[in-house]
Amino acid sequence: MNKFIISKKLYRNELATFYSFLIGFLIAIVIGSIILLIQSKNPFDVFSLMLKLSIGSVNSLSNSLNKAIPLILAGLGIAIINSVKLWNIGAEGQIFFGAIALNFVYINTSIENSYLYILLLLASGFIGGSICIFLPALSKVLFGVNEIITTLLTNYIVFGLTIYLINGVWKDPNSLNFPAAAYVSESVYLPTVVGKLSSGFLICILFTLIAYYIKDKSVFGYEMRIAGGSTLTAVYAGISAKQKSFVAMLIGGGFAGLAGAIELLSQTHRVSTGISQGFGYTAIIVAAITGMRPLGIFLVGSLFGALAIGGSVIQTIGVSSYISDIIQATTLFGALIAQFFFSYEIKRVKDD
């Protein structure tokens, strides 16, 4: 009789995560093509149009990269928190809360120098993200409450708060009854670099490097890895796993909050429900596909930004924009399956 056992491979190809992503992406393109064929569309035409309109010109490329900013920043935050083997499902709420915190500071302060003011507003976005994850972090380290549940639920609370604010105290009387807060002054808009590319993208590059440094090059990152590997080893080494988890969660939440601040200052220019279109959730996909590696998150985040732009433009030829959502989700699915085969082997054993 033959039996199959699954065992973990001791050695993993260094580039396994990258190959897994490629395989996943390929599978996604194939499945996307099948769906298009069923709808009697030529996949080649659709994809080449997507390509052209997402990276074909300076303008379309900058649209794509602008779209990538929140995906990358929130993804980096998720990756930092995952160093201690915790999951942040609350990036969506943290993005909104970053924008809310920014608006709160904007309403209550005023600085002449617009560069200093922008810096202050970005910082308040970051701190807003940290505040948003503060209670989940506290209940995690004090009572061991599952952070997946608490961060997820915080999303609903923050979204409710946003709705309340933009329909109530912050409602812009000039918005023709559209629920949104008042626009911020043009002086604090994030300047563009090339074409429509927001300088937020430069901040994004900077924070990718910061996240890479924290995770791979710093003492704190090392302590997070040990604490994530085994709480008992951390105790033995004199590392407080709770303290590392707490700080990691505040930093990770801050990254997502910063994404909300950049989104407000460069795209929406006001608090509205349009601050995020599920970026916080897509960021989980981005982070998971890359195995929580900051540089990978930067690349895959950029690609996903392009996919989102490509998806929205193909609507003009009668193709649903959901095709890009399908591609994103199938890429994760395919990549995870491929990662499984890179990490585990299935052996056939004969017994008796």
Binding site: Y11, V219, Y222, R225, G228, S230, A237, D351
Partner: protein, 497 residues
């Protein structure tokens, strides 16, 4: 004499290169409480897992009720009435006692649950409503429900793996009475697996002893066998090989004064333990595991802080201070649990190699990978560690190399004080030798060494002085020269001449 209800003959089982069971025979007689004695890693649990159908033996035959069993699996084992209580409870916390007891398809008291529950609650002295959720029960009560579950699942052969480890002394006495009632009135066949001598003598009628995967004694009459005999069987032959003991001893480097500790389960794990170790001296701690050794080591190393008494390292009082205060005084700890405490699983060889002194590779918030790499290369060369890929997970190393990495990491700084717990457990002969040489080298360099071990051979070979711990107390202290296997063995059983 009754015919055996279960007969296992010539059972062998290997895991990789390690022979967990080597030609083991085991017989159970109906309605009798059997004891299975052995050190950690002697093969007791492997044997039980074979009887309950979890492991498939490579060789050997199994006969239950006179019927030869070709191939056992857990389902089949339970249909033959074999049930096991594992060390970790397998109860569903959010379910009631009743739901847990009646969950299995082999449950026999579906209709007359209440009478059965009343009857066995009486036997186990369990005063609880059957609708109480498991999560509200104390550890001792959960243990009782676990054993009751076997009865409700119609098990006639009950395998109990270290059932008293979590119990208070009073609960242990109670358990003994319950098991006696079950064996006499219900004719249950019971196997008590333990490494505690006192309990095996109290609870059982017949004793089996395992050592290194072999059954070294079968069907001993509990009343006729002496503690010393059992200790000798359990410890095996003690060789006389010794290192040179004319080592120079200097100033006192480690002092523990009047240490007492009560665990979270309210068990007095340590009572008034005092010890003193000089530079260049090895103090061996003998004792059956679970008598307070781990707690003592954790207190000295700063992991447990809420104890009574004082810890002094190199004339500096570090009572109440944490792990890092000890590291600054150059104290090293080689914990009993290598992978999980000493080394972090899932983390790379490189990261694991730096756990003791990673902050020495730091410049502000920056951690220099070059410094880490250089230190690891030093370790690999100096302690001849075989690490094919330093970026791969620590579990890619063999057990011996893991222990060498751990030892090397803790010893390379030439520590003033070393606490080593079970440093050679589970290692092959050549690895054991090289670890012993490392300890002696370090002794000669002037370290004060506390060596906690269950291996008498190792203790006699390396220690200058020996203390024996029993139920949280130091029951004997003696120069190794004057010690004999007999008097140490008796002290381990709690008998102090």
């Amino acid at each position: 004499m009754k015919n055996p209800i279960l007969e296992a003959k010539g059972i062998s089982k290997s895991f990789g290169n390690i022979k967990a069971l080597d030609d083991v025979d085991f017989f159970l007689k109906k309605g009798i409480i059997h004891g299975l004695l052995g050190e950690n890693g002697a093969g007791k649990s492997s044997l039980m897992n074979i009887l309950s159908g979890i492991y498939i033996p490579e060789k050997g035959t199994l006969t239950i009720n006179g019927q030869l069993i070709k191939r056992l699996n857990p389902d089949l084992a339970s249909s033959y009435g074999i049930g096991m209580v594992h060390q970790e409870f397998r109860l569903i916390d959010s379910f009631s006692i009743k739901d847990n007891l009646t969950l299995s398809k082999s449950n026999i008291y579906q209709n007359d649950f209440n009478e059965a529950f009343a009857k066995y609650s009486d036997i186990f002295a369990l005063n609880l409503n059957s609708m109480t959720p498991i999560s509200e029960l104390s550890v001792g009560e959960k243990q009782k429900v676990e054993i009751m579950k076997l009865i409700f699942n119609n098990s006639s052969i009950m395998l109990l793996d270290e059932p008293t480890a979590v119990l208070t002394p009073q609960e242990t006495v109670q358990l003994k009475e319950s098991l006696e009632t079950l064996s006499q009135e219900d004719e249950k066949t019971i196997v008590l697996i333990t490494h505690k001598l006192k309990e095996i003598k109290d609870f059982t009628e017949t004793i089996y002893v395992m050592k290194n995967g072999k059954m070294v004694a079968k069907d001993l009459d509990t009343k006729a066998v002496s503690d010393t005999q059992l200790i000798e069987l359990m410890m095996g032959e003690v060789k006389t090989s010794k290192f040179d003991k004319n080592n120079f001893k200097g100033d006192t480097k480690l002092e523990a004064v009047d240490i007492s500790f009560t665990s979270e389960q309210d068990i007095k794990t340590l009572q008034n333990v005092s010890l003193e170790i000089k530079s260049g001296e090895v103090l061996g701690v003998a004792g059956v595991s679970g008598n307070g050794q781990v707690e003592l080591a954790n207190i000295i190393c700063g992991i447990i802080k809420d104890f009574e008494g004082r810890v002094i390292v190199k004339t500096k009082d570090v009572t109440g201070k944490g792990v890092k205060s000890r590291k600054k005084l150059n104290l090293s700890y080689i914990p009993e649990n290598r992978l999980g405490v000493g080394l972090a699983p899932g983390v790379s060889v490189l990261d694991n190699s730096a756990i003791k002194e990673y902050f020495q590779a730091s410049f502000g918030p920056h951690l220099s990978k070059n410094v880490l790499l250089n230190s690891l290369n030093d370790l690999i060369n100096k302690f001849s560690i075989k690490a094919p890929d330093i970026k791969a997970e620590i579990s890619t190393l063999s057990g011996g190399n893991m222990q060498k990495l751990l030892m090397g990491r803790e010893l390379i700084s030439n520590p003033d004080v070393i606490i080593a717990a079970q440093p050679t457990r589970g290692l092959d002969v050549s690895a054991v030798d090289s670890i012993h040489n490392l300890i002696i080298d370090q002794r000669d360099k002037g370290s004060a060494i506390l060596l906690i071990s269950e291996d008498l051979d190792e203790l006699f070979k390396l220690s200058d002085r020996l203390i024996v711990m029993y139920e949280g107390k130091v029951i004997t202290e003696i120069e190794t020269e004057l010690a004999t296997v007999e008097n140490i063995g008796l002290a381990m059983a709690g008998i102090n001449e």
